[in-house]
């Protein structure tokens, strides 16, 4: 099961890298989304995909699932959700203000001697 997950994560990272290297802002943002999805899946897989009882003392099972990676992912998902929302608004505002969504044209500034 872990091997399948690793391949999925690899595909997500590859897609994210491809998208983040493109010029359109929207594609870059989708790329960052995919990247964080990959990172979250990796976190889950790294904790081990064990089959076990829920981590409750009352269950009294032989083996429990590790709850820590799930707590970490929950936190990381919330953070990346917030950041992505901010990015989207920022991209929209910059599109309005600068008049382009091409990152190549978002360079240069006031004069340098």
């Amino acid at each position: 099961m872990e091997v399948v997950m690793i391949i999925v994560i690899g595909c997500l990272f590859a897609g994210a890298t491809y998208l983040m290297l493109s010029k359109s802002l929207l594609r870059i943002i989708i790329g960052t989304g995919l990247l964080s999805h990959g990172a979250h899946l990796l976190l889950l897989t790294m904790g081990g995909l064990k089959k076990g009882a829920p981590p409750l003392l009352g269950v009294q099972a032989e083996q429990y699932v590790d709850p820590v990676p799930q707590a970490l992912i929950l936190t990381a998902i919330v953070i990346s959700f917030g950041v992505t929302a901010f990015l989207l608004v920022l991209a929209y505002r910059s599109y309005q203000e600068i008049g382009t969504d091409n990152i190549e044209q978002m360079r240069g500034k006031e004069d340098h001697d």
């Binding site: 983040m20 990796l42 897989t45 600068i98």
Partner: protein, 490 residues
């Protein structure tokens, strides 16, 4: 166990929440922010005193015992950094009062300001590596908002790039934490140190260590990850820039210092050599940038890069003396860089431009400003008796003792060029005939500038008084067992 550790996080957090509700009244915002900044300094000083008297302080949040729950830990290093952050926060507030107009302030400026302090203090005080990530995000989120605050074209454009690079590095942070958890099965820094010191497979740990170096290097502007900085830092108003220059990159340095001295000691010969080479490249490219530009802001920004290199070099040596020097240098650099950006901002305010050569002769009308630049140049390059001297002296002495002559010489040479680059601002803006600037009222701006400079001078002259504290901080870093024992004991 003590609650003292959480006050530096709780005070700005509470203030931020209160400020959200009184965003309409500028006066209320200012008063509340000021009171909170004062309380923060008191809390920081109390924490330093407590750590000095009773050793490393920790707080198991929610009463979950140490390796299982999230632990906040303050050793002397954390406590000193928290105190310095509070002082910078107060100075930043005073500067903001006169440079941020009421329209901008009513758009939650002071709220983001407080949240930034929450993130920075949290990152300094946490003893859990995933919690460090969370506080990084708190800090970054506020920094995005502050960077784009005002919404000019240049700010939007630079914030976009700054955000993308930071989102990428955050993803990398999560990945690195995932790997570390898979290998060691714990996230508590002290527990990690115990597990790693007994680990057999150190190769994978070295890979993880380098991943963390990339993550922290990206935040801390280490070569080759500093390229985002000159662009991003050229956009925001001076008050924001000073905060960023004084606090944000230093959090990256602190993280490297903490992880490289506490956790990743398994292969010092390899990882710390890489850090030393990166530090050298950072110093060289930093001073080249500082010397090359004629834009005051860019000169100051590249000065940050050069200083980061010096600190990273101090960390890479990993002797007690070099760590002491690094901490000395880190604390003074936070204060001095903030002061430098305040001064550059004040000069740009009266001259209307950041470009050197378009104005001159400030010394006639603004003598205090001129001498402030002069003093900053001396302090930054490390001329005794000012604040930069003792840190650099300790680092270089440690380098000579370890036989790294070349690296020590590069650090010495870089000091000379740093002196030249800031002196260039002094000569070109202050000497010559008076032209190209207006008479404006800058007296309120002098308050934070003079306060920070006075602090820096006292820090340099009173080094004997400060040294016991710094030595205590360095001792905990050089011998992690002190830290580990106090965290993991019941």
């Amino acid at each position: 166990m003590t609650n003292a550790v959480i006050f530096p996080i709780a005070i700005p957090l509470t203030t931020a929440v209160i400020l959200i509700f009184c965003v309409k009244s500028l006066k209320a915002q200012k008063v509340i922010s000021l009171v909170s900044a004062g309380a923060l300094i008191a809390a920081g000083a109390w924490l330093v005193r407590l750590v000095d008297h009773e050793g490393v302080q920790k707080l198991d949040v929610g009463n979950w015992p140490a390796p299982f729950g999230i632990t906040l830990v303050s050793d002397m290093l954390s406590a000193l950094l928290v105190l310095t952050t509070s002082v910078i926060a107060l100075a930043g507030l005073l500067y903001s009062f006169y440079t941020i107009d009421s329209k901008q302030a009513s758009m939650y400026y002071y709220v983001f300001f407080q949240f930034l302090i929450v993130g920075v203090n949290g990152a300094f005080s946490t003893g859990d590596i995933f919690n460090l990530f969370v506080f990084y995000e708190v800090m970054l989120m506020s920094s995005y908002a502050l960077l784009v605050h005002g919404g000019t074209k240049i700010q939007l454009q630079e914030t976009m790039k700054y955000m993308i690079i930071n989102v990428f590095s955050s993803a990398l942070f999560v990945i690195a934490v995932g790997y570390l958890y898979a290998v060691t099965g714990t996230l508590n820094m002290a527990h990690l140190a115990v597990r790693i010191s007994g680990a057999e497979n150190t190769a994978v740990l070295t890979v993880i260590c380098l991943l963390f170096l990339i993550v922290f290097g990206l935040k801390g502007a280490l070569f080759p990850f500093y390229v985002w900085m000159p662009g991003a830092y050229s956009a925001p108003p001076s008050a924001v820039l000073a905060l960023f220059g004084g606090l944000l990159t230093k959090v990256g340095v602190y993280s490297i210092l903490r992880t490289f001295s506490l956790i990743f000691r398994q292969d010092i010969g390899y990882t710390h050599t890489i850090l030393a080479w990166l530090a050298m490249a950072t110093i060289v490219l930093g001073v080249i940038g500082a010397v090359a530009y004629r834009d005051m802001r860019q000169i100051a920004i590249y000065n940050i890069v050069a200083a980061i290199g010096v600190m990273a070099f101090g960390i890479s040596l990993m002797t007690k003396e070099s760590l002491e020097g690094t901490i000395f240098y880190l604390l003074q650099d936070m204060v001095m860089k903030t002061a430098l950006f305040f001064i550059v901002g004040a000069i740009a305010y009266v001259a209307g431009t950041n470009q050197l050569g378009r104005f001159s002769g400030l010394l006639g009308s603004y003598p205090l400003l001129g001498w402030a630049v002069f003093l900053t140049a001396l302090a930054l390059s490390g001329i005794p008796p000012f604040s930069g001297f003792i840190g650099k002296a300790l680092i270089i002495r440690a380098a000579f003792e370890k036989g790294q002559l070349l690296f020590a010489l590069i650090v010495l040479l870089s000091s000379l060029l740093v002196l030249y680059s800031v002196m260039k601002i002094f000569i070109q803006s202050c000497w010559g005939e008076a032209r190209g600037y207006e008479q404006k009222r800058v007296a309120p701006l002098y308050v934070p500038i003079v306060a920070l400079l006075a602090l820096a001078v006292l820090y340099g002259i009173g080094a004997e008084f400060v040294r016991p504290y710094i030595a205590q901080a360095a001792a905990t870093l050089a011998d992690p067992s002190l830290y580990i024992e106090s965290v993991l004991k019941e």
